[in-house]
């Protein structure tokens, strides 16, 4: 069970990754190997075993609804590549369209 070239390109596009031809080849092989391994694992009998999304037996980790003073807009914007009027300035959003 492998992964097709088209699927690798699709996933790369979703993740906004610009991959070279070489990288596409490399990842096609690597991702296929990972999926093959997963396919092997799914052959195990997991009848009655709860799916796990966490390895720790923890739940309900909550915090009280108490304000922690925010850092202020000057600090917030300190690392911004561009700012304007207290806002983060970002490039045109839908530029990849059409």
């Amino acid at each position: 069970m492998g992964i097709g070239r088209q699927q690798v390109e699709h996933v790369a596009k979703l993740a906004r990754l610009a991959l070279t031809e070489e990288e596409l080849n490399l990842f096609e092989g690597q991702l296929s190997a990972i999926l093959e391994h997963a396919a092997t694992v799914t052959k195990l009998d997991t009848e009655g075993v709860e799916p796990t999304s966490h390895s720790m037996p923890l739940m309900n980790v909550l915090r009280p609804d108490v304000v922690i003073p925010p850092i202020g807009s000057a600090a917030a914007l300190a690392n911004a590549p561009a700012e304007e009027d207290g806002h983060f300035r970002v490039p045109r959003i839908l530029d990849d369209e059409s």
């Binding site: 309900n60 909550l62 304000v67 925010p70 970002v90």
Partner: protein, 487 residues
């Protein structure tokens, strides 16, 4: 089938409602939640998505979401999990939104709504908890995202606890859709979990609407940007009509997203990409599951307020109020509470009398007070005192209206205000008789006409007596006395 006898078309609507919770802090960090303010003043490394930061769940937001799910009759998940919804849009600095996917807080509920005396049950698919996004401001190109030169981001709202409530496609008309949104807003207001202000965006309604012959599936059109309950109705009414016309003229509806233009009164198709969204949901590794304790759920159930529709039914059933009156009294929790407190404290007035004062006089006075019906500046015992004074004949209706206004302005007791300003109603026959005698003596011709059976000048006499008593005469007693004297 004869083609001219096309079967009636059926409208199918489902609503997706987002509500911001009224917590002190954001969903996953301690930044304060609020509306307006300097851009990026309520942010921290967590809600700005800086590397290495970790989210921690706000317990109040979990409680509020659970209460909402309970009020909507949902099954509360014994285990619910947060997922990452991945997408690239600069209003979400992490490039994903923490949301819920296959294990939401609540599922399979329902909501009962009333339209023109008819009751409809709308299924609730799910209620889940997520975080709100920031706000984008598009610069250039008339402020539209497609033509903008660049955009500005304010993350004050990013991370605000947001509950998404999805209805089943059970809604059959724009009127039922509006009633559903209205009822939902009312329930949320009763629960005290959200400001539910559509104009400020703390409650947002999106709709899916399709039209098709019975038994067939229509093409779903998503309608966005409905900023009031009225525009929910107008937009859906427009869209229903548009789709019907397209189908009747032999065309087909395209599956699309349309934007409601309130001013123009129509929906417009949005330019969207053809490819389906692929959010690549996966369990949020930085948060552990929620497994609400049975005891905690029991406690929350005990704290649940009576739902507005139940309250209205009870007022009609137990107190004999009209459907209209019950509807006004239930319109906000505070108004219904005020009515009940006043009724409990009233010694002379009955439910109908107390209700009349709330639904008529108080409502018109509260119209001038901002948020008046949500937070009426009046106590139940003051209202009871006033209504009792009218019921006991101490104040006339118009005198009581003056006193009520002063009570609202000052918060002082109606009896104190009336005593101090000398507002009272004179019911003492001796005192009134003198005034009536004087008026009759001054108008012998009028008295004569009355005696001869001409009832027309009666109102004139009443007016003269009321003038003579400076408006304090009890009209009932005065008219009784006049009749006695001329008979």
């Amino acid at each position: 089938m004869n083609p001219t006898e096309a079967p009636d078309l059926v409208t199918t609507i489902g609503l997706e409602v987002h509500v911001e919770l009224k917590t002190n802090t954001k969903m996953f960090c301690g930044c304060p939640v609020g509306f307006g303010g300097e851009p990026n003043s309520r942010v921290c490394p967590v809600c700005l998505g800086h590397p290495g930061t970790l989210p921690t769940m706000n317990e109040k937001a979990v409680e509020y979401t659970t209460k909402i799910a309970m009020a909507l009759g949902c099954d509360i998940a014994p285990r619910s999990v947060f997922h990452r919804k991945n997408y690239f849009y600069p209003d979400m600095p992490k490039n994903y939104q923490i949301s819920q996917y296959d294990l939401p807080v609540g599922e399979r509920g329902s909501l009962e709504v009333e339209v023109d005396g008819e009751f409809y049950t709308v299924g609730i698919t799910r209620a889940h908890l997520e975080e709100d996004t920031g706000k984008s401001l598009h610069i250039g190109g008339g402020g539209r995202i497609h033509d903008a030169d660049y955009s500005l981001e304010d993350f004050n709202r990013a991370g605000t606890p947001l509950v998404e409530i999805v209805s089943e496609p059970d809604i059959t008309s724009p009127a039922v859709a509006r009633a559903y949104a209205t009822e939902l807003r009312s329930i949320l207001e009763y629960l005290g979990v959200s400001d539910v202000r559509m104009e400020e965006g703390s409650m947002r309604v999106d709709a899916n609407i399709s039209v098709a012959p019975p038994g067939e599936r229509g093409k779903k059109v998503e309608v966005k940007n409905m900023n009031s309950l009225r525009s929910v109705f107008r937009a859906l009414e427009y869209e229903e009509k548009r789709q019907r016309e397209v189908l009747r003229s032999g065309g087909s509806v395209t599956q699309s997203t349309r934007h409601w233009d309130e001013k123009a009164g129509r929906t417009q198709e949005l330019r969207t990409k053809e490819e389906a969204f692929d959010y690549r949901y996966f369990p949020e590794p930085d948060l552990v599951p929620l497994e609400p304790a049975v005891e905690w759920l029991r406690q929350l159930r005990e704290e649940q307020p009576e739902l507005p529709i139940e309250r209205a039914k009870r007022y009609q059933r137990d107190l004999g109020l009209s459907s209209y009156d019950a509807g006004v009294l239930r319109s906000t929790k505070a108004l219904g509470d005020l009515f009940e407190q006043a009724l409990a404290a009233a010694k002379k007035a009955d439910a109908k009398q107390v209700s009349n004062w709330v639904t008529n006089d108080l409502m018109s006075l509260l119209a001038a007070v901002p948020e008046g019906t949500k937070n009426p500046p009046l106590t139940g015992s003051n209202l009871a005192e006033l209504v009792d004074m009218v019921a006991g004949g101490d104040l006339s209706k118009s005198q009581a209206q003056q006193v009520l206004q002063k009570t609202l302005e000052t918060g002082r007791r109606p009896r104190e205000i009336a005593d101090e300003s000398g507002i009272k109603q004179v019911s003492d026959e001796g005192a009134l008789e003198a005034a009536i005698d004087a008026v009759l003596a001054a108008n012998p011709d009028v008295a004569e006409r009355l005696r001869s059976g001409d009832n027309k000048p009666f109102g004139f006499l009443m007016g003269e007596v009321m003038k003579a008593t400076k408006g304090q005469g009890n009209p009932k007693v005065v008219s009784g006395l006049i009749r006695k004297k001329i008979s």
